[in-house]
Subunit: 137 residues, 2 copies
DNA sequence: AACTATCTGCGAATTACCTGCAACTAGTGT
DNA sequence: ACACTAGTTGCAGGTAATTCGCAGATAGTT
């Protein structure tokens, strides 16, 4: 009997590709599937992009990673265990500012109170302009 | 000299396609380009999807419509003159709840104060669950 | 070692959106 | 009314991101 492993614990097979995809997400922080693939290819050049997509989906299903929609460029994945935060995405320079969720708590609470809407701000970026880009458009 | 028209006033030619695209956005409220095309085709069956895309872009450039990223499905367009609001998008049932921006003002102000980040919440939807879907997953 | 469900690689399909270009036409000047 | 020209349109094709089908490979079990 194998020792418990975070992947096997969740009913997943332990393949090199899968482990590397998870590791890449943890290394990169907020990465697109394409970036994850590139990171994985450093040690496993043959990995197919479909495999990356499928593993990201699988890993999300078991709660190890999450995706968010940050700005206009596609989806980005991040590790689920990291401190949950909202993303502020500067439309001009592309910077992503992370905001701890307690800064958003009163806002999300008011949405519940007034609209019965339960939100997860970590799921997508809030678009806008960072200080620098706001001052000098 | 023609009488002023909202399109011509902005330096645009007055084509049937253009007028119909604008009218469709106003009729539909929050529509994808595809939905706009379908609406336009009710009275102008021949319109090409590219024309819809180009007109949406053009109309946005002159400030008559705006786009927002609502949830996972692509971009949606809405008339610019309507009251600006944020969108709450239920991930489960797809409902879109409109929230007047003054409900979000204190939150956006705190982002400016704490992060120097100037945001436009009308530009994209906040993901979450509406009351009904929250209670019964 | 054999077995089998899961997983991977690959190629093709799909979706959403964009581009180049020739033909068309709205608005202007005559 | 007629011609002119730049803004527009339709069409065909292109790209980028993501998904799918399937045959072969392989992790974990017996």
């Amino acid at each position: 009997m194998a020792q418990p492993h975070e992947l096997r614990e969740r009913g997943l097979r332990l393949t090199p590709q899968r482990e590397l995809v998870l590791k890449a997400v943890r290394t990169l922080g907020h990465a697109t599937p394409e970036e994850v693939a590139e990171e994985v290819r450093k040690t496993h050049p043959g990995i197919n992009l479909s495999t990356v997509y499928r593993n990201l989906e699988t890993l999300e299903n078991v709660g190890l990673v999450q995706h968010a929609h940050l700005g206009h460029g596609g989806v980005r994945y991040h590790p689920a265990e990291e401190e949950i935060h909202a993303h502020l995405n500067c439309e001009k320079c592309g910077a992503i500012i992370e905001v701890p969720l307690d800064a958003t708590a009163s806002f999300t609470q008011s949405l519940i109170d007034n609209y019965g809407f339960h939100t997860d701000l970590s799921h997508l970026a809030i678009a806008g302009r960072c200080e620098a880009c706001f001052i000098k458009p």
